[in-house]
């Protein structure tokens, strides 16, 4: 089964470990993630202004490319997922903006050169934007994921971290219950992990604030990590490169500030899936982590 895949910029730069592990896991589950032949940045944040069509164009353009390949598009980064899904909602629900956006798409000569099947059809929002974890649940099925597990992650205490972008705004994202989501927990149960429920799983990591005010991002992340440490987690798993960055990179500071702090590795959920599915370890790169997850994974005999 082939599913169009939109990686987004970070997955080709800082988060190669996320991109590679995700593709390999998909392969092990019988899914080929077909990367869009051309794609651009999604726009990175969904615009707060409501009267401009320019701000959703980047997302719409990528969705239009995806529509030439299939009826779905899978993405991994929570920000990309948020922007693409909401841009798609605009194309589905706002005729005025849809018509304007399509005027721009018609002028896209590059697409015609690079995508053989590209035609002049307007894009109407027909593509379904899926997060990779939704693909696992709804396309592959958690039961099939569980069947494909070759190494049960028993005894590994995993704290699933959602952050905000998957869940909010809930009425637009329709991803899960924004207050008490469970999609991540059910996934981890399929892998045989001990799920650590921690109340900060849906709080913000600090997001892009890290660029402007590192202390603010650090304090947001600290709130999340300390909560998971208190509940005796072995690792935190995330779905987002920026969450990974914020939670992982600020732990030296946390160790200074919080008495009795224990450093907690933060890894991508696809890396954990890779271990469970027995994916070749060359595709599971943990070298970019500030807090090295390998000791705890080795301790549990998982790598």
């Amino acid at each position: 089964m082939k599913i169009p895949y939109y990686p987004g910029c970070t997955l080709h730069e800082r988060a190669r470990d996320f991109d590679v592990s995700a593709k390999e896991c998909a392969k092990a589950l019988g899914v080929e993630l077909e990367e869009l032949p051309i794609w651009t940045c999604c726009g990175a944040v969904y615009p707060l202004v409501t009267d401009s069509v320019m701000d959703v164009l980047a997302g719409v353009r990528n969705l239009s490319y995806a529509s030439r390949l299939g009826d779905k598009v899978v993405t991994l980064c929570s920000f990309c997922y948020n922007v693409l899904k909401r841009s798609n909602n605009v194309m589905r629900g706002n005729k005025d903006k849809r018509d304007k956006a399509n005027l721009f798409l018609r002028a896209d000569t590059e697409a015609r050169e690079r995508i053989p099947s590209y035609t002049h059809e307007d894009y109407e929002g027909q593509v379904e934007v899926l997060h990779y974890i939704e693909m696992l649940r709804d396309v592959v099925g958690y039961d099939r994921v569980a069947e494909a597990v070759t190494k049960k992650l028993e005894g590994l205490k995993v704290a699933p971290y959602y952050g905000c972008m998957l869940l909010r705004p809930a009425k637009e994202m329709k991803f899960d219950d924004p207050e008490q989501p469970t999609i991540f927990e059910e996934f981890l149960e399929a892998l045989g992990c001990d799920v650590v429920d921690f109340p900060m799983k849906t709080e913000c990591c600090g997001g892009f604030q890290v660029v402007k005010d590192e202390d603010l991002a650090a304090s947001c992340s600290q709130n999340v990590v300390v909560s998971a440490v208190k509940r005796d987690a072995d690792v935190i798993v995330t779905t987002c490169p920026l969450c990974r960055y914020n939670l992982d990179r600020h732990q030296d500071k946390m160790a200074e500030e919080v008495k009795g702090f224990r450093k907690l590795p933060v890894i991508y959920f696809t890396q954990l899936l890779g271990i469970a599915l027995g994916v070749d370890k060359e595709h599971l790169d943990f070298s970019d982590n500030t807090v090295d997850p390998r000791p705890v994974l080795a301790e549990k005999s998982l790598i």
């Binding site: 219950d177 924004p178 207050e179 008490q180 109340p199 900060m200 909560s227 208190k230």
Partner: protein
Amino acid sequence: MEERIGVFVCHCGTNIAATVDVKRVAEELAGYPGVAFSTDYTYMCSDPGQNMVKDAIKEHDLTGVIVAACSPTLHEATFRRAGTAAGMNPYQVEISNIREQCSWVHQGDKDAATDKAIRTIKVMIEKARLDEALDPISVPMTPRALVVGGGIAGIQAALDIANAGHEVVLVEKEASIGGHMAQLSETFPTLDCSQCIMTPKMVEVAQHPKVTLLTYSEVDDVSGYVGNFKVKVRKKASYVNRDVCTGCGLCSEKCPAKAPSEFDEGLAERPAIYTPFPQAVPNKPVLDASHCTWFLKDGKCGVCAKVCPLDCIDYEQQDEFVEYEVGAIVVATGYDLYPIENMGEYGGGKYPDVVTSLQFERMLSASGPTGGEVRRPSDGEIPKEVVFLTCCGSRDPESHLPYCSKVCCMYLTKHAMLYKHNVHEGQAYVFYMDVRTGGKGYEEFYTRAAEEDDVLYIRGKVSKIFEEDGKVMVWGVDTLSGKKIEIAADMAVLGLATVPNAAARDLANMLKIHQNEWGFLSEAHPKLRPVESLAPGFYIAGAAQGPKDIPESVAQASGAASKVAALFAEKEYHREPIIANIDEDTCAGCRVCVSVCPYDAAEFDEEKKVAHIKEAICEGCGACIAACPSGSATQKNLTDDQLYKMVSAALEG
């Protein structure tokens, strides 16, 4: 027969006369075909004015009367009475509105206003020429009422109707009457013990010679119409012969199976065979088969049957149906709390120390699971800091419900106060959006809580509650200081929104009582007919109609009861005869009328293969008349012929 119509043009002081040339109106219409008499007068509704109408009817032997005056909602009844007194059929007396719809809106253009008044009256003359003499519809009245719901509203309505001398059938779905009020500890703003004022009423209604009390029963079917309803009530199998049972309690005492107590809101357990609470009325048990070992394990157990000294236990018992004829139905089905599980941001249903307001009532109640001591559910410790949250689900259109639940500000104030009386060294916090204290003594009560009992009121919403180190951490904001607030509390009490009782929606649908989009029953008029439903014979009382406190529920119940008593005062019920009629000769039997009638008044006669209208139910809305493809359905005194001539008169010239 030649029509002889009288036209009476009212000046209404200067209300009409200043804008409409009333003399010219009367003079011009005197020459209109069919008009036998035409005059004007300063105040037609005054005694001399009415006498002028009566005299003219007799003197000119009038067949129709048009009073050109104010809106028919004001004086149609007045002039119809006058017509009747003079020997005319009241339905041949018509009002032409030349005040609200003419003089008041056309001031400054007397000629045009006068022309319009003449035209308006001509329209009604055309109608009156073809008006038939009609008799009011009379239907027999069964002076017995059905009251659905045995909470305070239902009990009050039943008692008031019974005390007016009429029979009442009171149906309650639970094993005991009492409703939510029986669960409450004290009541605001007087701190009366709720059970102390409730249980005497429960006993009174159960012992009233005019009241038939059916507990553990539900209304299964209702047919008929005002004065003549047939009601089928299902007495649910209780597996106890409750007629013989003396309520000795041996069965409950020995029963080995346990289930969460509904009355204690899950804070305690009850046996599978149980009376909901010690003061239950009737004080006789029912057996809950879903938790009973006998039913779950194929006849193993049977302890209750063994210990019952009177052989009341009957595992084979089936639901039983009883039927009643009643003339009126009062719906008092009450409320539920908005499910605590819906408050995910507060960990509702997840954290044991985040409790509902009704659970807290049970904790405060002397008859409750903690004997009136406030102890938190997780470990039974006395909580030193308790946070009370108003508007949990209410006033939150984005995520929950848009409306104000009205009672939460007050009961949470009461909770905080009683908690402080209970735990002197404790601290109570109330997060609020506004403290709404609209009621006698309510504001004083709130002030007392804040000033004398040191309840700390924080204006702001709570964003999140979570467990941390054995505490419930409450994150909120104080919008007056603009500061974020974090409280490590021992317990949080959610003032959950009130929603209509879950079972009430099906009942309301069956009775065809309109509900608003949240399921609260709709009254006939939001201000002037607050206890009646639009359909005749149905009355509403209590929180089923909207969130309300005890005194309001009682007042509304008494209001509904007095309406029922007034309905029962006459042996027959009279209705306006301006309703639909179906011409059997031309009816093709297509049944379109049956499908469009919102009142179930159009009925198909299987023998004659034609439709007919049940006169007692038809509201004269006209839906069938518009829908009938053969023109067989007509409105009495508003026939197609009449309407055509009226429109022609309006457009003429």
